[in-house]
Every structure is written in C-alpha cells, then in structure tokens.
C-alpha cells in the first residue's frame, strides 16, 4: 500500500491536516511542559525533526526485515539509537547549541509522535515518502510548539523570543504547566473553527 500523495502534499499534511499537536493530539507531555517560550518550542522542534526523519528513513529501509510481533521494541530501539547519536554529535561538534538543546534531545526517546509515525506510515511506505512524511511531521510539531510557545510567552511573560514587547506580565498563569492544557484546548478549538469556516466558504463557492 503506497501513499498517493506527492512529496509536497506529505509535508503540508504534517503541518496542517495531521498536525501532531492540534490534530493528532500526540506528544502532549512536551507540548504542555516545554512550550513556555517560542525558543524552547523551536529547539525541541528541531530536535524532533531530525530524530523523526532519521528514524522514519531507517524503518522504511528495514521494514521488510522487522518481525511484526516485535515492531514496537524495534521502533524504540531505532529512536533511542538516533537520539543517542544526535546527542553525541551535538555534544562533540556544536557544544554551544548542546548546552541549550541537550536536555530536550534526551527527552525525545519517549515521544509518542515518532513511534506513531513509524507505526502508521514508515513501516508501509517507500523510503522517499517516509522521508518527506518525517519532514512534514517534524515541521508540524515545530510549528505547533512555536505557536503554543508564542501565545504562552506573550500572555505569561509579556515577551516574544526573550524581547520585552508588552512591558508587563499579563498573566503569569500561562507559563505554568497546567495552563498548557488550556492553551492547547483553546488553540485546537480555534483551528477547528477556521477549518469549518474555510470548508463552508468552499461549499458555498462550489
């Protein structure tokens, strides 16, 4: 069963139709815990992007050799290997980036979104499709995290990317972990609303 989507559609699909945070509602722990600033969201997004792409491609290459009853352990092993490699490479060659990202990279082993994409997509599709699906999912996750981070940072700390834009702290409540749930819920509702309006407009036109 091969996907009928083009590479570009796969990327867009990851960012919009199947956005990991707002549509698939996966990996909520990092979404709620870490998305307190735009920068945090961006750094975690980059790390997820790399791990997702590498793991998807690896699984797509070896998909015929994986015994169906041990797929999940194999996926976990693959993700853990890539996370370790990325962690070591960052520590060795980009020590300054590692000082800020290291803590996020190690978290990724347990992310639901990566295992889920391997199970739903990479183990059935071609290597190229899996690569682009990985890119789409990684970018979608990054976009979601940054959108959440933007709202929470602006409303909680009054800053954007660390720059003071409001000059005061409106609601410190928003940077606390439980506010992450409110943010995700409200933003999910907002995006659903946009979708409904868009579809309705399209139906009237058509």
């Amino acid at each position: 069963m091969a996907t009928d989507k083009s590479n570009f559609q796969l990327v867009v699909n990851g960012i919009l139709n199947e956005n990991p945070i707002f549509r698939l509602v996966l990996s909520m722990c990092p979404a709620v815990g870490i998305s307190t600033t735009v920068m945090n969201g961006f750094l975690l997004g980059i790390a997820v992007l790399f791990v997702q792409v590498f793991s998807s491609v690896t699984i797509a290459i070896f998909k015929n050799m994986i015994h169906p009853r041990i797929r999940i352990p194999t996926y976990t092993l693959t993700i853990a290997t890539w996370v370790t490699i990325i962690d070591m490479v960052l520590a060795a060659y980009l020590p300054e980036a590692y000082a800020r990202m290291g803590i996020f990279v190690k978290l990724i082993v347990a992310f639901a979104i990566i295992t889920m994409r391997l199970e739903m997509f990479a183990c059935k599709e071609s290597v190229t499709s899996s690569f682009w699906d990985g890119v789409g999912m990684g970018l979608g996750f990054m976009a979601g995290m940054m959108a959440l981070g933007f709202v929470r940072e602006l409303l909680g700390l009054g800053t954007v990317l660390g720059y003071d834009v409001l000059g005061f702290k409106p609601l410190l409540f928003f940077v606390l972990p439980f506010a992450g749930f409110f943010c995700v819920g409200l933003m999910m509702a907002f995006f659903n609303y946009i979708e409904i309006v868009y579809k309705r407009a399209k139906a009237i036109q058509g």
Partner: protein, 297 residues
C-alpha cells in the same frame, strides 16, 4: 516455538546493530567531546579567577596541574603527586606519615598529561613493576610572575541524588575566591538552585578560619546581602557589594528554601575539599622544600 526463536534472533541482531552504530558514534565523537569539556573547564577556571573575554588573563599567569595518586605496593598505601618541573614532570611519593619516600622522573608531553589513560601509562612505565596506582584528584596551581596567586580545586561530593561536581578557587591563605557547580542532578527549582548566584556567591570571600567551622543557617537571606549576591543584575555599586560581602564573610551559609539537604551537602563538601587540601599542600610543600625539588610553581 519456531516463532519465538526468530523473534529472539531478530531482536538480538537489532540490538547488536544499534549497539554497533552507537559505539561507532561514540568512538568518532569522544575526542571532540573531551576537548570541549576541557576547553569549558579552562574557561570556568579563568572566570573563577576573575578573568573573562573582556578582561583576559595576563600572559604571566600560568596554570600548573598537579595530579594526586594513591600508590599501592605490597599492600602498603602511600600518596604520590605528579608535579610539573622545569622541562618535564616528576612523581613524588610521600608516605602516610608525611615522610618522603622517593621520586622518579616521568616522561610525558604537555598534551598527553591531561589525558588520564596516557598519564597513567607514563607513570606506570616510570615506576616499574610491583606497584599499582589509582588516580585520586587534581589541583591546579595558578602563578603570576612565578608567585602563587591561587589554587583551583576540582572536586565532587554526594548531593541529594547523586554526585555534585564543582571547581573551587582558593587563594594561598585558603580564602575561598569562588565556587562553580560543573555537574549536578538536584531537583529543578529546589536543590537545583545551588547553581544560582545568590547561593554559590555566599562562599566567595569566606576566610579559612570560617570555612573550618562553616555550617548552614536555616534563615532567610538578609535583603542587602541578597542584593549584593545578585549584583550581576545591577542596581548596586561594586564597592558597596564588596562592603556587604565583607560584612557577611564570617557568617554561615544561608540555606536554600526547601533544599536543606542540597545546601548542607554543598557546604560540607566545600568545607571538606578546602580542609583536606590545606593539610595536603602543607605536607607537599614541606617535602618539596626538604628534598630541594625544584618545581615550576
């Protein structure tokens, strides 16, 4: 039965493959990683001495590394120091009673001496058969124009969860010049606060007499002291900071809220490192003077 065997076989192969990939990655990156750690350590050490990018160390400031080893020979223990001397290194062996046992020159280059494996090999080659050595710790003697200006003491001690790694700077009279936390796993927000200026800054300027009896006070930090400790945030003049630091230099360490155990372990850890070092360096200096060994510091 056949299926379970295939599963076992495939899982084993996948694990082996993953292990190979990770091992390969480790071998390729470990050298660069160690180099980074070394560079970072050097930077921290210079910052503890008050130097930074804008205020670089003058060229007559030199760092000399001393490595302390425990030597075992016929089940008898003794202490030994690998000391830099003009034109090389020497391994000075001192008995537990503080008496000189012997010294051997060790041939090792300046680049290799910082690597634990190469260093141990060179020492073993110089010592010959029948002796076992175990690395204990290292000390860095800082000299300016040939005179000692400070000691840097990397060390570790148990924290609330696992070991806390630190680097201390003390002057020749063992007054603390600064404390930097290199590695820790204390709880974020509680014991993790040991890395904050308002905690580790409290150790700065404590004289040796105070360190010997240093304890933790479960009291809130007085406002003016807190302001002085967080002087990096601004709003207070440098001379004022110095005056307030002076005022509190013989006081105990104010504990972190909700993290008495972490506060205590850092305090007693620092105390132990400085006390032990002061004792050891006095013996080492006496032996070096008695034997007339000429050293680079």
């Amino acid at each position: 039965m056949k299926e379970i065997l295939t599963i076992i076989f495939r899982l084993t192969v996948s694990c082996l493959l993953a292990g190979l990939v990770m091992g390969g990655g480790y071998i390729m990156t470990t050298k660069a990683k160690q180099h980074n750690e070394h560079v970072n350590e050097q930077k921290v050490m210079l910052s503890l001495l008050g130097y930074s990018k804008d205020n670089p160390a003058p060229s007559d400031v030199e760092l000399h590394e001393i490595y302390r080893y425990v030597v075992t020979e016929d089940e008898e223990l003794s202490v030994a120091y690998l000391i830099p001397i003009p034109g090389g290194c020497t391994f000075v062996n001192i008995g537990l009673d503080g008496n000189f046992i012997g010294q051997v020159p060790v041939e090792i280059s300046a680049e290799k001496v910082i690597k634990a494996g190469d260093r141990d090999k060179a020492i073993m080659a110089a010592l010959g058969e029948g002796k076992a050595i175990r690395f204990a710790d290292q000390t860095i003697v800082v000299t300016e124009e040939g005179f000692r200006m400070a000691y840097l003491l990397p060390g570790e001690f148990p924290g609330f969860k696992t070991f806390i790694k630190v680097i201390l700077a003390v002057d020749p009279a063992f007054t603390l010049l600064g404390l930097e936390i290199m590695e820790h796993e204390e709880d974020p927000g509680l014991g993790g606060e040991i890395v904050q200026d308002y905690f580790k800054g409290q150790f700065k300027g404590k004289p040796f007499a105070t360190i010997k009896t240093l304890d933790v006070a479960k009291l809130p930090i007085p406002d003016e002291y807190l302001q002085a400790l967080e002087s990096r945030k601004g709003g207070i003049s440098a001379s004022e900071v110095e005056r307030i630091q002076q005022l509190y230099s013989d006081k105990d360490i104010y504990a972190l809220t909700g993290a008495t155990i972490s506060s205590r372990s850092v305090t007693s850890g620092v105390q132990a490192i400085v006390k032990k070092f002061a004792y050891r360096v006095s013996i080492l200096d006496r032996v070096l003077a008695e034997q007339g060994i000429e050293v680079s510091f």
